[in-house]
């Protein structure tokens, strides 16, 4: 129950950090579980499409596609795309995660997994087998999953999913 009350407060806090004009952009890493991540995603339903990318600092394909995802997050932000990165590094590697995110210009709220993997993976999506990188995309108007995949993918695949998420009410792209 305590967690329930913490949720909006945390979002408000991260919102203030993310949007306060006087502060320099910063990244805030939240150790969390699947439930919190999905609740965060659901707060965007009706206003933004959401892309969530699961990655790790030691995962080569994740690192290879990471800059492209950051670039897409900027390119489509004005059209209503929000991108969250969820690190599945070990919790004691949070410093490396933070450094990596800063080096790649990621600001605002980011996550690091703090839950039993078997429960975490299934709670995020029954279709996720546990391989990373893993990307899941939620529609802007419905909040439903419009696309998901395991492994590194091309910019074209990402853009196709993003457009599906942003323009689903218009019949997709």
């Amino acid at each position: 129950m305590e967690r329930f009350y913490q949720f909006p407060l945390l979002l408000l806090l991260f919102g203030l950090i993310g949007f306060s004009g006087g502060c320099s952009p910063t990244v805030e890493i939240h150790q969390t579980d699947a439930d919190f991540i999905l609740k965060t995603v659901s707060t965007h339903t009706g206003s933004e499409g959401v892309l969530v990318n699961f990655w790790a600092t030691w995962c080569e394909p994740c690192i290879e596609e990471f800059p492209m995802i950051v670039e897409l997050s900027r390119e489509y932000a004005s059209q209503g795309l929000v991108v969250y990165f969820v690190s599945v590094d070990w919790l004691d590697e949070q410093a490396q995660v933070s450094t990596f995110l800063k080096e790649h210009g990621v600001t605002g709220l980011s996550f690091i997994k703090d839950q039993d993997s078997n429960e975490f993976i299934d709670a995020i999506s029954k279709q996720w087998t546990g391989a990373i990188p893993f990307t899941i995309v939620f529609g802007k108007s419905s909040g439903n999953v419009v696309d998901l995949w395991e492994g590194k993918e091309s910019k074209e695949r990402f853009e196709s999913a993003i457009k599906k998420a942003l323009y689903e009410s218009m019949g997709g792209s």
């Binding site: 790790a56 030691w58 995962c59 080569e60 394909p61 599945v88 070990w90 039993d116 993997s117 078997n118 993976i121 299934d122 996720w128 087998t129 546990g130 391989a131 990373i132 990188p133 395991e150 492994g151 590194k152």
Partner: protein, 199 residues
């Protein structure tokens, strides 16, 4: 009797393949006669690796930190279960990484360094991985003495700290299978490195 079983099992395998998912529990070992190059330089099939009581297939590689974290469990499993009649084979499906640490010479070095006492074969073209619906390393598939899948998924719930494991999924499945009982938890998930298929 065998024909009836095969007739019943075949749809399970086909459904799993059509859905593009992991091999369904109860399926027979796919591509069991396909020969693969082992680190011993011999050609080995899954049928040949099969033990009297079952077969443990681990999709594995040299280049994944999750494999490295769980690798001590590989050794323990081989020490404890091969003498009990379980055949054990690690299969490297990372076709796109043959020049990046997952070639046969790298595999030989790895096996020597970590003391692999089991087969470690090269899955050319990731054919086995595709047939099994394997997606990550490590990814476990356990077959019983009838060559039917009884467990798939994770080794346990703590890759990096073996002494802190609370749920030894695979060992439980092995013990239940060897005791002639139904495997209680037949499927689990774990984080792992995506298999590097050659696109």
């Amino acid at each position: 009797m065998l024909n009836r079983k095969i007739t019943w099992m075949l749809p399970l395998f086909l459904i799993a393949k059509l859905l593009g998912g992991e091999l369904a529990i109860g399926s027979f070992i796919p591509m069991a006669d396909v020969k693969m190059r082992d680190i011993s330089d011999k050609e080995i099939s899954l049928n040949e690796a099969m033990g009297e009581k079952g077969l443990l297939v681990i999709f594995s590689c040299n280049t994944c930190p999750w494999v490295h974290a769980w690798e001590d469990r590989y050794i323990t499993l081989a020490e404890n279960y091969v003498p009990k009649g379980i055949g054990m084979i690690a299969v490297n499906p990372n076709e796109a990484y043959r020049e990046r640490g997952d070639g046969i010479d790298d595999m030989k070095d790895r096996a020597k360094e970590y003391g692999y006492s089991f087969y470690y074969t090269l899955d050319e073209g990731s054919r086995l991985a595709n047939a099994f619906g394997a997606t990550r390393t490590p990814h476990i598939f356990l077959f019983n003495n009838e060559r039917k899948l009884v467990y798939r998924g994770a080794i346990d719930d703590n890759a990096r700290k073996p002494k802190k494991v609370k749920k030894p999924y695979l060992m439980n499945a092995l013990d239940e299978m060897l005791a002639g009982r139904e495997v209680a938890v037949t499927s689990t998930k774990a984080l792992g490195c995506s298999i590097k298929f050659d696109k």
